[in-house]
């Protein structure tokens, strides 16, 4: 896997804003960011209302994804460039989601909205309208998505990478310190998980660290390259960022994202939970 196949730079993006067959898509949790100014020509996908089923706790199904992309004016032949705030958390989530439904021509804008803004590149508030398409998705590629039973079975056998902050990992907090504390019934982490906060994979401007740095970070943390890996966080967005680093940048073959993450695992009855830093013994 080479970086050029999965990442584009801000400079390349600015030169290709009007390139035929390239669609820029902003994905955010805070959708007011887009309204305050977006990359010229970019359409928006709302992580919460458009990618999640609004009744069941799950993704929109294949037909729902087809309807969404058709309405956004994205066709099967388009190269989709995703970017967003929060160091590309939700853009990485959408990237994984596009892969899940079989859209191969998708890339992340390295550094996302932050890098774009820090570079002083143009943003506008123009309403973007693209002609509707007739998008056709594939069945979900479950080789990149982990469910809870598989996660419980992975304890002590696969690499489990908890990408939350140390205070969430140890059980002190149930959500990042700047967000509302919600949902999981218990704090802690999945036994045998290593803790490598997502932020280790990013430079301060939001771009990904080099392959050499990433290898050292995960190797030093005890990730065993001979084993398969499941990454998780609280709701699956930060772990998409780490999934991207491990699977798309470092080329680890069997890496799954557990999108149920701690909000599911920490509410299950009867599963083992470990507290503390995990380094005591």
């Amino acid at each position: 896997m080479s970086r050029e196949n999965v990442l584009v730079s801000a400079a390349w993006s600015e030169e290709n804003l009007e390139a035929p067959g390239v669609v820029f898509v902003e994905v955010d949790e805070d959708t007011t960011a887009y309204e305050g100014g977006h990359i010229p020509g970019a359409v928006r996908i709302d992580w919460k209302t458009e990618l999640q089923d609004q009744v069941r706790r799950d993704f929109v199904d294949r037909a729902g994804f087809e309807a969404l992309l058709s309405a956004k004016g994205i066709s099967n032949d388009d190269t989709v460039i995703l970017y967003g705030g929060n160091n590309n958390w939700f853009a990485a989530y959408a990237y994984w989601y596009f892969k899940l439904y079989g859209h191969d021509a998708v890339k992340l804008l390295d550094g996302g909205r932050k890098k774009w803004e820090l570079d002083g590149r143009p943003l506008d508030k123009d309403v973007v309208e693209r002609a509707a398409t007739s998008y056709s998705a594939k069945d979900q590629d479950l080789s990149i998505r982990a469910f809870r039973d598989e996660v419980v079975a992975a304890i002590g056998t696969k690499n489990l990478v908890d990408v939350r902050s140390p205070d969430e990992f140890s059980g002190k907090l149930l959500a990042p310190a700047h967000l509302p504390q919600e949902q999981a019934q218990r704090g802690g982490h999945i036994p045998s998980a290593i803790n490598v906060p997502w932020s280790k994979a990013a430079n301060e401007d939001g771009t990904f660290r080099s392959d050499e740095e990433l290898k050292a970070i995960y190797g030093d943390a005890g990730l065993d390259g001979s084993k398969n890996t499941i990454a998780y966080c609280r709701i699956g967005e930060r772990s998409s960022h780490t999934w991207f680093a491990l699977h798309e940048l470092l080329g680890h073959e069997d890496v799954k994202n557990y999108d149920g993450s701690w909000t599911e695992y920490g509410s299950l009855v009867g599963v083992p939970v470990e507290l503390g830093s995990g380094k005591e013994g």
Partner: protein
């Protein structure tokens, strides 16, 4: 503790119990004027990333932290800067960060 390190009591935070919460609250400045849209990063005493917010149009930012020594680093298209804040206990700890 009192004196110059005492939390600024002038900030009113609705719905936040400042007798128990440790709040780091401040503004980002560029050339003497508040700037919005700066990426403000909270780093712990070892320099490890903890959280990030974007400053409001008035330059304001706020973190809910724990007592301890923190670095607040701001990134903006006009430049970067950082400030140290030592929060010795609960309350509102004011901090200003200049970027250049």
């Amino acid at each position: 503790m009192s004196g110059c390190g005492a939390p600024d009591q002038s900030v009113v935070l609705e719905g936040v119990d400042t007798t128990t919460e440790t709040v780091l609250s401040g503004k980002v400045f560029a050339e003497g004027a508040p700037v919005g849209g700066a990426y403000v990063r909270l780093l712990d005493s070892t320099g490890e990333f903890t959280a990030e917010v974007v400053s409001s149009p008035e330059g304001d930012f706020r973190f809910y932290a724990a007592p301890g020594d923190w670095t607040i680093r701001a990134l903006h298209r006009s430049g970067n800067g950082q400030a140290l804040v030592s929060a010795q206990g609960p309350g509102v700890h004011a901090v200003e960060v200049a970027v250049a």
